[in-house]
Symmetry: C2
Amino acid sequence: MVEQALDASARDRLKLLLATQMNVSGLERLTPPRIDSLTLPTPRVSAPDSLNEIVSITPLDRASHTYGKAYRNLVRARRGDLACAPDLVAFPRDEHELSAILDWCSNDRVAAIPYGGGTSVVGGVEARLEGRYEGAVSIDLTRIAGVREVDRTSRAALIDAGTLGPDLEEALRPHGLTLRHYPQSFEYSTLGGWIATRAGGHFATLYTHIDDMVESLTVVTPAGLIETRRLPASGAGPSPERLFLGSEGALGIIVRAWMRLMERPRFRASASFRFGDFYAAAGAARLLAQSGLFPSNCRVLDEREALVNSLGDGSSSLLLIAFESADHPLDAWLNRALEIARGAGGEEIASRPSVPAADDTSEKWKDMFLRGPYLRDALVELGIIVETFETAIGWDRFEDFHREVHRAAAEAVTRICGEGIITSRITHVYPDGAAPYFTVIAPGRSQSHVAQWDEIKAAVSETIHSAGGTITHHHAVGRDHRAWYDHERPELFGKALASAKRALDPAGILNPGVLTG
Amino acid sequence: MVEQALDASARDRLKLLLATQMNVSGLERLTPPRIDSLTLPTPRVSAPDSLNEIVSITPLDRASHTYGKAYRNLVRARRGDLACAPDLVAFPRDEHELSAILDWCSNDRVAAIPYGGGTSVVGGVEARLEGRYEGAVSIDLTRIAGVREVDRTSRAALIDAGTLGPDLEEALRPHGLTLRHYPQSFEYSTLGGWIATRAGGHFATLYTHIDDMVESLTVVTPAGLIETRRLPASGAGPSPERLFLGSEGALGIIVRAWMRLMERPRFRASASFRFGDFYAAAGAARLLAQSGLFPSNCRVLDEREALVNSLGDGSSSLLLIAFESADHPLDAWLNRALEIARGAGGEEIASRPSVPAADDTSEKWKDMFLRGPYLRDALVELGIIVETFETAIGWDRFEDFHREVHRAAAEAVTRICGEGIITSRITHVYPDGAAPYFTVIAPGRSQSHVAQWDEIKAAVSETIHSAGGTITHHHAVGRDHRAWYDHERPELFGKALASAKRALDPAGILNPGVLTG
């Protein structure tokens, strides 16, 4: 769907761009090791013979299931540090095989770590066991994959949890339908992973969190199967789906879901505006979020973010607005949005009135957005620290909060790396607040990359927490956010969750260290 | 806000209308007893002296907190049946007094039954104890009331849980804001009750369930206080608010919430259409629900429902469409909706293009809608069985499901009452399904009203369950829906909830019999 990597000349251009911003000469290059040079710890446990067919202990499988895609993971992988590799990798093909794996894990005290696309940026798929388990199995769910059933009338489909983003969209396309959920990891992540981590899609308003698209769930737990009833809505007690949304594999393993879909868009309209000030652009985004127009895109980029994305010369913040519809032309929607943005002091750069939609894949934003991870890989290889963090906050506190977090990040980067670049954008807007997103790019010191990033991350996380934000808007908690999550979550709610976990996972083998336990 | 009761001539007209449909002569009248004629059981428990100031044992307080507003409650109240009256009624003024009451209940094994406006139609506030408790206290929360703080920028307010609908809107009006949540019980129900029961508002699409308007919650549990962080969105673990939404007082007692608000509407547009067939009208409603236009109203009334509401002559089903906005004129929205409804075979009765909004209270729908309960009181007094039930189902199964439930209700009414009227409407529409609503009106037999209704209700509930619907879309579970809820809810989810309850309510005193335990 997009280029599979940045070519050498793109890497050079990038290096040149960075060189104008900070001193990147003489950094240690981090090149990936060869698979035959890897040293893996000897497996501590072995699966019963009955599971032989679906279990692997090859170095390639174990190495490739050791980490997610956090910066700290990329560095460790490049250093060949595989100390926390899972002892085995299992590839169940259905819920019965999955149940059999969980039975073995419960009986033998083996940690069971669900693995979808492996794109966690928060340590959600790593076997950091702290010695309380006999071993760990990474459960790769990508063989439980495919669109099983499509209900055209209700616009919904029953989809297996291991289905990757592109496969899912490809299977829905002949029906004229789309899940329309594009997290940045889209190409490599799975439906089950999105649900388990409460993923946020590319779109800025309304149906963007996967939460709202889940009609029903089938979940395998060590205590048995849970299948919720397929309903458009229900007021019968606390929502069972919501307990598993965000459960990150600690309460059960999602195997399939009925998902709400949309018609493929037939009309599009868009506009972009320049603002002298990031907070003025944010103010316009607030008015749009509160207008009831529900733009599909309403993104704010600060000056540096705009520059890095080749949008402008780095002197202005940008507001990007877009509308999509499968039903109607969007002139009235766009025109009112233009009025709002102009009224808020925006200078119009371009606007594209309502037009029939071209094929999705030609859209520039999607290319750029999805290319982010490749860009990051290239920087990591150059020895540069590059990572993102994100949060959400109410509009009343937005400006103070954003300044404070930005200042904390800048202070930490200067203190720890000497210099660096921080860019920021708003990825999602709500009537009552927004989700700011930050990217840190700084020169790494040989052998200290991970420690440096961890120190920066701790400083910004403390500030986010004490200033009233959430430790994660859409990256999930995993193991890396756990300390701050424990403070953010009401203590008694944590106890209720732990108690619910005991009912579903009596041996405590599901993704230990995540959420609870 | 609306007339406080039906006058005598309205009652006579109503009786005349019913007389043309069924034989209502000679029915036993059910007139309310005088308060001084009531016999209440002697209180089994007494509160500690420290709670004297906030506890009442007067017959009026105990009698008025014995029941909700289900038909079976109205009949029993009129018969002076107060066998399950609470032993005491407590009126805490803040969370500390509430905690003190729960401490006493936990220590002395007294059932603690939260009571907001007392409008439960599912037995949610009744002390049906089955002998496992020493006694019961009804905890009236209406002294914990008021709008505490308004955040104009984020459009949100901190509101105490015991605040009644009209008081809440009155306090927000000077700020130009509204919660815009109008369940049929609006005048008599409280914010806390809406949240605890996952109430549905009047509006047909988008922000209609109270669930989506909750920003954060403060909940008192026997184990301590839970206060969730105020955020526009978060991906940090399972949502704590969602555990308490629909918890019906069994997991904790909600004392206040930050609620998402809207600007008061400035523009309105509406239209109505006639269809030869209820299912054709439902088909049009489906297209509107899937259009992305988000009408504020998109209601379908069958022929009889239209007649009872004085809309038409009873020969056609109706589709009522409306739009509201605080931001923009609605011509483009209405025009596209008109195209859709016409294309689906609707005959336009009237359309009112986008106009500046008049004051809310002048709207005819709200009068009619909110007068429903008074109408019902008048019928009950005439000895007529009158009750409603509601559910939700996907569009793919809508027509078959609706026919089957309607047939089951008609069959039960004929079998049990000899004759009767069943009317139906669609109250809420979603892209993937709808919420059908039914009203049953039938002649009651002396002394058997409750038994007759219970038998009808059991028959329709069985059909709803076996045909794949939910036992409740917005009336909650309470005690009356419990048997079907237990079948609808995955068994292991029930165990997880019971386990969570043990962490929050170790003595099991919170609203026993509701949800779990």
